[in-house]
Amino acid sequence: MIAESGHYALVLALALALIQSIVPIVGARWRDAALMNVARSTALAQLLFVAASFAALVTLHVTSDFSVANVYENSHSLKPLLYKITGVWGNHEGSMLLWVSILALFGGLVAAFGNNLPLSLRAHVLAVQGWVASAFYLFILITSNPFLRIANPPLEGRDLNPVLQDIGLAVHPPMLYLGYVGFSISFSFAVAALLEGRIDAAWARWVRPWTLMAWIFLTLGIAMGSYWAYYELGWGGWWFWDPVENASLMPWLAGTALLHSALVMEKRNALKVWTVLLSILTFSLSLLGTFLVRSGVLTSVHAFATDPTRGVFILLILFVFIGGSLSLYAWRAPALKQGGLFAPISREGALVLNNLLLTTACATVFIGTLYPLALEVLTGEKISVGAPFFNFTFAPLFVPLLLAVPFGPLLAWKRGDLLGAAQRLMVAGVAALVAMALVFAWTYGGATLAPLAIGLAAFVIMGALCDLAERIALFRIPLSLSLRRARGLPRATWGTAFAHAGLGVALIGIVCETTWNSEYIGSMKPDDVARVAGYQLRLDGLNPRQGPNFREMVAQFTVSRDGEKVSVMTPSKRNFTTRGASTTEAALLTRGASQLYISLGDTSADGAIAVRIYHKPLVLMIWWGPVLMAFGGLLSLSDRRLRVGAPKPAKAAARALQAAE
């Protein structure tokens, strides 16, 4: 009954989404408030039913109901409970259900907290959400239905793949989805604006919190995915320019650009048409990302061809939504009124430059990701576009962007004073030069680019601090006054500073990790000592151990530095006997922001074991950066000014929810 109720709830959600797609538009056309308000109640009801459907699927996985094909194919009664739950979205059908659940969640949030939106705008936005949702419900029900049953249920499920049983892999897809799907709101707002033929500064103010929320999740999702790859895949890499990663990076770049252009629109009523286009592009890239990954086109053209219905449906959805919204844009955008004027050197100008560089960088990633696919389809030739391509194209575009970042917040709106900004950034510039000189002296004879990059990172971080110092007039007025000013600063300003500084922090991590990473690869016998970056790692011994459903060989290393024992590390190699699969469990030792990383290889006949040891200086800063950025985003999101105009919610619970928004 659970399975069938879940299935029926999903079908009802589709029916509601269809009504939500049509009735409010009709209402807006005939100015009927009641019809427009249907959008709201259907969006909430749709959320309820999808949530029920998702809960049903989770229950089925937890109780190992193998009469459901999806459970049979992707679960196993011996899986630990946690992985039974996370396994729900570890497969195609379940992950699509999660996708629509999140879509319905965002729709529900707009319905519940969109009191401050003009009625017709809200009706249009929710109707467009309804279109997207309908398409996805149809896709799920027709081609990827997670509730299909097996009449003669088998007794055991098929999947117990040890590699996929990992907490990182379990948590980061929902994060990414929250990001991807969050951009559907700005998409809906853009299409709604085009439908209404009206767009203004107020529109940007309403869009921004939703975009910001999606951006925060996407930032965290990408960072988590990268950290997962780092510790789980066992070779210490954290970014591979893999198509799957690029698929998440592209919407992030476009979304970052959108955040900034929405700011220009909100404050200055300029860049309207461009902002609408960016909203459409960002969500299109999210769709493309979801589908490229989900359809398996990127891992294998073959996988795409094995299920033609799915593939064709995917192409159809992409075509209708991307093509349709872009056509609508081409048709209606010229009708939108032009916005305010500004000089090239101004805050607006700086943000335009930011947009230009971000979207161009996004385009190069797009080309690098899809070019091999296109070439293969057209000529049958197989090429791989690897890290060097992206390093040569992406990095040169990001350098001017990073150089410009500190200037942006210091320039005035409309007409800025570049020289004045430069003067105010003097401290940052000096700090950058000092950092550069120090690093250069320290690593004399080493890489030449690295000190420059570190200098750039220092400039970005110090620039963010300079901006803050400038605003609170630090050292120019008494400290107590400055502190009072600091408290009075809008949270969005603090958010900007944190997010920009996060960029610099991540850059330091990236540069240090790639330049001064030291490694030791060799085979070791017990009592052998490996020396890496001033640490001595002694292999104490290899101990076999029996786990619940695996045997593992645990190597124990004593780590010492200058003769003093620091810690013990125990990497292991697991063997899942029945399935004959093995996994490598790397051991990590964190020292400040740096890490030691050991992963094991095979044991040879003479008892020696292959060992790979890395010392990764400041590697953790790579992920602290995005966390800092997300924190900045959160601060900015909590800024009271973004939500102004909302009537005071009646209940305390609603207020709490709104704060979390």
Binding site: T360, A363, T364
Partner: protein, 164 residues
Amino acid sequence: MTRKQRRLTLIGCALVVLAVAAGLVLNALRDSIVFFSTPSMVAEKHLGPGKRFRLGGLVEQGSLKRGDNLAVTFTVGDGGATLPVAYKGILPDLFREGQGVVAEGALDASGVFRADTVLAKHDETYMPKDVADALKKQGHWKDDYGKPGNMPSASAAPTQGAMR
């Protein structure tokens, strides 16, 4: 500045950035792209030593030999031709004889492929895309490959089964 001039400045800036980006992309596409080959394609094309490419195929049964200090050699075949591969380092967990593999590197003077990266199947159900396609072309593809146990395969039927 008039509105027109401002707009021109903006467009000019955009064009400059785009031109730089296009230049970077074209340059990178020329220099840093790696082609994919199977052993028979290597034999056909007479790839010279030093040219980097990706080699894909199946690790030949019984060809894996471990040398001193993590050096390994094995042979990659695609049913048509085979190519010896030398690699130094730790092989991925899923590297097995008879399974698909992709290696990146270049041929040396003696015709041995010196790999600096070796990728095995990503997970139990993943076959490197290039390998799958190439093998499929040559008729070596087993359709049930992706899903172990999904289809009671009869791939060995012509020689097996009759004894029972």
